[in-house]
Amino acid sequence: MKGSLIIVGCFLLGALLGWLDLLPAWLVQGDVSMYVLYALMLQVGIGIGSDAKLGQILRSIRPRLLLVPLATITGTLLFSALISFVIERWSLAECLAVGSGFAYYSLSSILISQLKEPTLGVQMASELGTVALMANIFREMFTLLGAPLFVRCFGRLAPICAGGATTMDTTLPVITRYAGNDLVFISILHGILVDFSVPFLVSFFCQL
């Protein structure tokens, strides 16, 4: 919770300073954020590659458990594709890129605003990045608030799939509380796998 507040705070502080027009031009228009993004992707990659639990997790996975992250990804992408017919502003691939954030709002919004800049231009890329930030924050909030309801209507796996990439940290407590403690391993495994899929899927859909 504290982490989410800091993240939203950083965004709001930047928005305020940008709005007040107090900053030097190189920071507003320059390529600074692109290079910072490269640095971030290198770190994220190192984090994935050096994770000691990665091999252990990959070996302990039984096929049945993979169905849970698969359900999350399939369900999210299918329904994001459907809603793209309602939202005229954004194309199918752009809606899929936002959906592929799976509640990992910080990374997905940054990736989208950077990767869409060459094709959409700064204006629309920042707009789509903002949509991605809000949409994925909403998704985390839905999971935190709706977990008990989701379990009742859609079964015990529901809050795990709804939580997307956050089910090994921020939404884990509500999941174990309402879906049962025995699902803690599935929830963590699901969170890790969906989390790893975010940079790949978001870049893929930004490319289409």
Binding site: T76, V131, M134, F142, F200
Partner: protein, 94 residues
């Protein structure tokens, strides 16, 4: 675009071959700070952009629709997977 993906894979490769280096265990800390910095920079470009600031309501509605659709889609498939592969097995054990 390809740059980002290849940097990511380079990172995975470097991380994997140097996975015994103890300092990678703390890689989440610099990642967190880099994310703070990037969101601050995204905030700047949004705040500096009057067209976004004037349309926050519209963008918020689009975000809400996308979030609701994504969540509902996952819930439906979660229900399907639970019914087909988890509930039955539980029944067989009992």
């Amino acid at each position: 675009m390809f740059t980002v993906i290849s940097i990511l894979f380079t990172g995975v490769f470097i991380g994997y071959i140097t996975r015994r280096f103890p300092f990678w265990a703390k890689i989440n800390r610099p990642i967190t700070y880099t994310i703070y910095l990037l969101l601050f920079l995204l905030g700047i470009s949004v705040g500096h952009n009057p067209q976004i600031m004037d349309n926050l309501g519209t963008l918020g509605l689009q975000a809400f629709l996308l979030a609701a659709a994504g969540t509902l889609g996952s819930l439906c498939f979660a229900w399907l997977v639970y019914r087909l592969f988890f509930q039955r097995k539980k029944g067989a054990e009992e």
